[in-house]
């Protein structure tokens, strides 16, 4: 349905209102949230401080994380120290909030380019993005993930702009390449948007017309080469220092590993015989990814039980507080939440909203598959969540953790905009099929669910 200019103004006002409320909300959270409660807060603080003050790279357990965010955070820690703040981390926490607000603005820009002339998609995408706890929580923390979210969205805007453009310009390719490279200098998940861009550019070349194909290939290749060259020094450093360019040689858990028992006179360690011939790397079992975890995944959506499966952890952490770092305690002590019912409500609301979002993404995938050339700009929205979830599955499989520490909604943050657009798309399509009264009911129900989430996001 085409919108009139008056209605457009109404949508802009609504978006502005959401963005304003979101900014105030995140600012308040960043001021109120104790830095030490954040995910791996001490590690990130040590890395940033050592980098800024002593010029030492990767001194904490996060040594395999690129230094992009730590450079900024370290300077802000120094600023907090110079200002003699009671919590020197506060400026860096405010940076997180600012980056997430900036990401919300970029989400609007990306949605406008992916779905031009469909303001309802923009509005609903923005609404779910701004209320989803998985987005709100890291905005108050001392953590690099908000920066990689911002840079991923920047690259996404550049990518969809390129895909939508009738003629690809070299400037647009250069800008995209810089954004792709910068995202990788913050977290390894910055690779996701690079992979998405590589696929989208390859498809654009394949479905392009004879007249544009050569130019598309040249600009696309330029973007990808720059996107690889910018983070290359970091990858070389990790490879040289730790023997792994991405994970930095992070040790894997092994089963039946022989124990070093004693050192003989020659100084050569002896391994006692074990029942297994060779230690083998521990991997998460298939059941970890296929189990529902019912009924406890609904009734007890928090850490502390054995054998909680992948999907249940991810849902509980996306919409609630599975690890207890947000609303009910410190991560290591998070075994007995004071308000279990609130977490249960979040879990149920989250299942409903996730269903709508996935419906939109699946539908979009079908539509893109059926009309690739005409829906090329929508391809990244379909592929980004796939790459993100596949990476998370691979990570959880390769590094199984007894405390579920390797399955976190935080990791999926750079893909949150695509999930939000899936939600917006499904809602808009259903809205267009309903009458006025039904639309009021639908809108009220969805808005109520989102407000429940917004309330949970208050630190």
């Amino acid at each position: 349905m085409m919108s009139t200019p008056g209605r457009w103004t109404g949508f802009r006002m609504a978006e502005l209102a959401i963005l304003t409320a979101f900014s105030v909300f995140l600012l308040r959270n960043a001021l109120a949230y104790p830095f030490i409660a954040g995910i791996d807060a001490s590690e990130h603080r040590a890395y940033a401080w050592d980098l800024a003050v002593n010029g030492q790279l990767g001194t904490s357990g996060s040594y395999y994380t690129p230094p992009g965010w730590y450079v900024l955070a370290g300077e802000l820690l120094k600023l907090g120290d110079q200002l003699d703040l009671s919590e020197v981390e506060l400026p860096a926490q405010l940076l997180s909030a600012t980056l997430v607000v900036g990401s919300a603005i970029l989400l609007l820009a990306a949605t406008e380019r992916v779905f031009p002339g469909r303001p309802w998609i923009r509005l609903w995408s923005l609404a779910i993005f701004c209320t989803c706890p998985a987005v709100v929580k890291p905005a108050a923390m001392l953590h690099p993930q908000p920066l990689v979210l911002f840079l991923t969205l920047l690259a996404l805007v550049g990518l969809v702009s390129l895909l939508a453009a009738p003629r690809w310009t070299l400037q647009a390719g250069l800008a995209l390449g810089l954004a792709l490279g910068s995202a990788q200098l913050v977290r390894s998940v910055g690779l996701w948007i690079y992979a998405v861009a590589a696929l989208a550019i390859a498809v654009a070349v394949a479905v392009g017309t004879r007249g544009t194909r050569r130019r598309t290939a040249a600009v696309g290749a330029t973007a990808l080469v720059i996107g690889a060259l910018v983070p290359l020094p970091w990858y070389v450093y990790l490879q040289v220092e730790y023997g792994d360019p991405v994970f930095g040689g992070r040790p894997e858990i092994t089963e039946g590993a022989p124990q070093l028992s004693r050192t003989p006179r020659e100084g050569i360690p002896i391994r006692l015989p074990t029942a297994t011939a060779e230690p083998r790397a521990a991997r998460a079992p298939v059941s970890f990814f296929t189990a529902t975890g019912l009924p406890e995944s609904i009734t007890h959506p928090y850490r502390g039980r054995d054998e909680e499966p992948f999907a249940a952890i991810l849902l509980a952490d996306t919409w609630g507080d599975y690890f207890g770092e947000w609303s009910w305690g410190m991560p290591t002590a998070a075994l007995d939440p004071p308000d279990r019912q609130r977490l249960v409500v979040q879990g149920i609301v989250g299942v409903l909203l996730t269903f709508v979002s996935l419906t939109g993404l699946v539908a979009l995938a079908v539509l893109v598959g059926r009309s690739l050339r005409h829906r090329l700009r929508q391809l990244p929205i379909v592929v980004l969540p796939l790459v993100a979830v596949a990476s998370l599955v691979l990570y959880a499989w390769r590094y199984p953790s007894a405390d579920d520490d390797t399955v976190k909604a935080l990791f999926l943050l750079p893909a949150a905009p695509a999930f939000a657009m899936g939600f917006g798309f499904a809602t808009d399509v259903v809205r267009s099929a309903l009458g006025r009264d039904a639309n009021v009911v639908l809108g009220s129900v969805l808005a109520s669910l989102l407000l429940v989430c917004a309330h949970f996001g208050l630190a």
């Binding site: 039946g256 079908v366 399509v429």
Partner: protein, 139 residues
């Protein structure tokens, strides 16, 4: 592509996703209905094999362990063989350890150990790494 086509695809996608979720949850319900809680022996066996990577077998030459009402097994960790027998209560496990002491000529104080309702007979006194690896698998 028309809005009507989009509507059809969205509705079908929702139905497919709902169907998949239904199959997923239905599969869980069927498994729950059929599921019998694993025995204590099965839990210990799974832990020793899957989490510790050990080879486990039945205690061939230990009639006392073979008589344990909840089962028994033997395994070797770092060259030290241990026979584990599961009894109905702590008293029965203590009694089994006492029987080991009576029937064995040498001193087994450091090798025959009762923990809760389980009895352990080690070939050699367990080291600091062997004991927790096995005891940590007990239910």
């Amino acid at each position: 592509m028309s809005g009507g086509s989009e509507r059809t695809v969205v509705v079908l996608s929702a139905l497919v996703l709902a169907g998949l979720a239904g199959v997923w949850v239905g599969g869980w319900a069927v498994r729950e209905a059929r599921d019998v809680d694993p025995t204590a022996l099965a839990l210990v066996l799974a832990c020793l094999q899957n989490q510790r990577g050990l080879t486990v077998s039945s205690p061939a030459r230990d009639p006392l362990a073979a008589a344990a009402p909840r089962g028994s097994l033997t395994t070797t960790i770092e060259g030290n063989t241990v026979t584990v027998s599961l009894w109905n209560d702590a008293g029965a496990a203590e009694e089994a350890v006492g029987t080991y002491a009576r029937l064995t000529p040498e001193d087994v104080t450091q090798r025959a150990i009762a923990r809760a309702d389980s009895a352990f007979l080690w070939a050699m006194p367990p080291t600091g790494s062997q004991a927790p690896a096995v005891y940590g698998c007990m239910p």
